[in-house]
């Protein structure tokens, strides 16, 4: 008891940089407000919750922008366990904006049917809060907490249509495999703590740097942690949950999972690779090389066979994940570190804009056709030309065709591979080049339905697009075009992103 008192006396509350935490605090405040209001307000006034949610997300952007413009480049808290640097700010902005678009996608969708709006918004905000924390976490424990914080609400969101067996299946699969992945990761983290005697990433990095030699335990720890995140970003062969979850979950939730949740996984992976085990590249580089090649190839091949649009987009997003991983396979080589980081960040920015756009169209079209079949897009151009053209642009961007956003993301990924001037880099670039062609097989198939096939049942009733979806389409299409025609805009943000304390340069 006495010793405890001594400890208590010695304990000094850590100084908290409230400005640095402002985005998270705004979000936390907003989600509490949503939860409270939901209890008290009348059912007819529930639309206010939607407004509050979107307002919260936009309000949280304000401190992010102010932090980005402030003099202090890097703010660290808790002995470097929580860091606000440019990388985390860029990613936080991506999460918040993606979250805002997801709100726009959801708002009309959840107003119909038996949905619990208050809880939906609450869980969405909670998950986003976890993502913001993830972007700043630089410690094994805070990474793990952030990961659970963002995942657990996502499990529930996936099972949101609780009377629909498919939605239940989606939630359960996501939950079981997610928990399994967490367990694997946690095991890897515990090994890492055992080896390095610290949970702080930079210290782990320093320990491994100091010896420069790796025992089996190091390798096991690194591989387990990477495997854990491979589940999160649905890299092959750890992807099996994704298609079922994406198909079963409510479509706006799928959009959220395939963009924001995936990006969060990549953020953590990149932070770990760059700060915790940069010099273990001999272990993770080949591993990521294989993951990347498998992910894009198998994702592509399976996407070719799909008849359901959401399932196809699920496999397409698996395959896109392979392209994000691509530059990381050479990130440890001299000179490639910076470009690889830039490439990952840019890819996530562009991919977020484009893929959310695809989901906006899917939601708009499903309003009319009530079908998820790709064939239901037949003749879309003839009766809804704007939607048809926009979908074409989004798909072309995903396929990486200039002058749409996707091309610069793929280009920068290839660039960093070739910059490494290593055989592995060239080989993966070749695999990627072939895959980007194969991918057009299924993107082109949807375009073909839209432009060249007859309308099924000759049902050409006009599609009424709700205002929120229109706004979402304007934002995503604008971003997709701007990133493609003036790639400097996106690259500028991606180039700023530098992980404080990263050893790889």
């Amino acid at each position: 008891m006495q010793t405890l008192n001594i400890f208590a006396a010695q304990w000094v509350a850590p100084t908290i940089d409230y400005f640095g935490l402002a985005p998270e605090l705004v979000l936390a405040g907003g989600l509490c407000l949503v939860l409270m209001l939901d209890l008290f307000i009348d059912e007819r006034k529930k639309w206010m919750l939607t407004a509050i949610t979107s307002f919260t997300l936009l309000a949280a952007m304000v401190p992010v922008l102010m932090l980005a413009l402030s003099e202090t480049e890097v703010r660290t808290m808790f002995d470097g366990r929580y860091v606000v640097d440019n990388f985390s700010l860029v990613m936080k902005a991506v999460f918040l904006l993606a979250g805002y678009v997801v709100v726009l996608l959801s708002s009309s969708h959840i107003e119909e049917g038996e949905y619990w709006r208050g809880e939906y918004w609450f869980l969405l905000l909670t998950s986003l809060l976890g993502m913001l924390m993830m972007a700043s976490s630089r410690d094994l424990v805070s990474i793990f907490v952030a990961l659970e914080f963002l995942s657990i609400p996502a499990y529930m969101l996936a099972a949101w249509r609780k009377r629909d067996p498919k939605s239940n299946e989606a939630g359960v699969k996501y939950f079981l495999l997610g928990v399994f992945a967490s367990a694997v990761m946690l095991y890897g983290m515990s090994l890492m703590y055992g080896v390095a005697n610290s949970t702080l990433l930079t210290e782990i990095g320093a320990k491994i740097t100091a010896t420069g030699e790796f025992s089996a335990v190091h390798a096991l720890a690194v591989v387990f942690v990477v495997v854990g995140f491979a589940f999160k970003v649905s890299a092959v062969p750890f992807h099996t949950w994704a298609p079922d979850t994406y198909e079963g979950a409510p479509t706006p939730v799928t959009a959220f999972l395939s963009v924001a949740s995936k990006a969060a996984g990549f953020v953590a992976l990149v932070v770990l690779l760059y700060t915790a085990f940069p010099l273990a590249q001999d272990i993770w580089q080949p591993f990521i090389w294989v993951l990347s090649a498998l992910t894009m190839t198998i994702g592509n091949v399976l996407a070719l066979k799909q008849h359901n649009i959401v399932r196809m987009i699920a496999y397409s997003s698996i395959s896109q994940g392979g392209f994000v991983l691509m530059p990381l396979a050479v990130a440890g080589l001299a000179g490639s570190g910076t470009t690889a980081l830039r490439s990952v960040v840019l890819y996530m920015i562009v991919y977020a804009a484009t893929n959310l756009g695809v989901f906006a169209i899917i939601l708009a079209v499903a309003n009319k056709t009530r079908s998820g079949e790709i064939s239901s897009y037949g003749g879309l151009f003839s009766y809804a030309p704007t939607l048809g053209v926009l979908m074409t642009l989004f798909l072309a961007s995903l396929a990486g065709i200039p002058p749409l956003g996707g091309w610069i993301a793929k280009f920068v990924a290839f660039q960093s591979l070739i910059q490494s001037q290593s055989t592995w880099g060239y080989a993966l670039a070749f695999v990627g080049a072939v895959n980007s062609v194969v991918a057009f097989g299924y993107y082109g198939n949807v375009m073909r339905e839209i432009w060249m096939r007859p309308v099924p049942d000759s049902d050409t009733t006009l599609i009424s697009v709700p205002g929120s979806l229109k706004l979402a389409l304007v934002i995503t299409a604008g971003a997709t075009l701007v990133f493609g025609i003036l790639p400097g805009v996106g690259l500028q943000f991606a180039d700023l992103a530098e992980i404080a304390g990263a050893i790889i340069r």
Partner: protein, 513 residues
Amino acid sequence: MNMLQENNWLLSVGTFLPLLGVVVLLLTPKASDQMVKLVALVTSIATLAVGVYTALKFDFDQAEKLQFVADAKWISVIKSSYLIGVDGISLPLYLLSMIITLLVVIYSLDHVPSPGKPKAFFSLLLVLQTGMAGTFIAQDLILFFVFFELVLLPMFFLIGVWGGEQRQYASIKFFLYTMFGSALMLVAFLALFFKTGAESFSIPYLIENGGSIAKNIQIWIFAGMFVGFAVKVPMFPFHTWLPDAHTQAPTQGSVILAAILLKLGTYGFVRIALPILPDAAREWAPYIGGLAVIGIIYGALGCLAQTDMKRLIAFSSVAHMGFVMLGISTLTSFGVNAAMFGMVAHGLITGMLFFIAGSVKERYHTLEISKLGGMLTAMPRLGWIFGFCAMASLGLPGLAGFWGEFPAILSAYNPAEGLNETVFRVFMVIAALGTVLAAAYLLWMFQRIAFGTAKNSSSHDHSHSDDLHDVTTFEWIAWTPLLLGILVLGILPNLLFSVFDPAVQITLSAFGG
């Protein structure tokens, strides 16, 4: 390399003006079909006017220099800039693209193919024009790549929506082939960038520094570019998309494809692959020449086997582009000049042949050669125009086709230093045989279609007999410039050669002239 920067707004305006037309079209949701056609026509006339003004301002005494050069920041992070300019090599092709687009627009005024939708059709034509013109003015590899790819989607939809019965298959095939080529091309561009010290993607810079790359690496980089450009040309064995795409495309699509899109590939060889990687070009030249003559013979034999008029013309493109590539593979200024001339001539002649095929299809409702016949008696003017173009295509002296084909064959007699003379002389003989075959298939086609008694379908289907009308006004307006071009360039080839030659000399300086 010094550059001239006066009037450097001209090229950007000429290239992006069509997009302005597209924006106008998109912003007028309830435009009538007449209105749409008017906007497209005005836009393409204005574009050509800017192009002609550019040509007037062009300093032909310094055709070897890049002119109207504009250099603006674009993607500074990856060291790519908006660097554009034209010299004697690109100017004629740049103008040709504008002329062809205008003529195609005029032709389309009363020939919008089924299923209609003129707004989308003309918008795609205009986007296509921006892509084509941009490719010819880009002096930065990344900019070149973006424009090179920009033509893909519009063409994909032109074939896929407005094409023939197999249009969906043909359009996907076209797209996948080209995209595969350009993916490898992009990887090659990146490798080139890093091997020259990661300084710049600008073509003039790379021409200065590309030669210093080790030869074995050059060979690999060249391989990537080769696939990208050869698919587009198309060279044997990458040509299989072409007959399908041409046959299924609407007339307008075929014309643009033949007249301009194929040239993007050969232009890429002359502008990028040869001058930047001279050592690799020397190693690759015999293989390129070999594939070129295989293409000549294969294309000609393919023509002889065709029963469909449009497919026959498509295969003849493979053969003609074989002559162009043979000229390029000699690495001599003589050969490349011939190749450049061949590109323009092929654009005029084959473009014209596809126009005729379109009109035949419209009148006879078939392109099966066995069902056609007696065109000269039924429609004498169309028949004579067809005959004129067939003669030009087989390389009759006095018409434009001759000046692309004959010098290309001749240049193979004396290839650049360091290339095996015997091999190229064998190529020359084979290519010369190819011209005989060309005469055979073209004359045979002409004979079967134009001679004999009129076999129109009126005997069993009266409603069609009215369709056999002679050349219409719109067709006259669209065709006359091409016909005149074929004749004038045939009589005065020096008009073009004198523009090409200085630039070609400079481009090939690494090969000793």
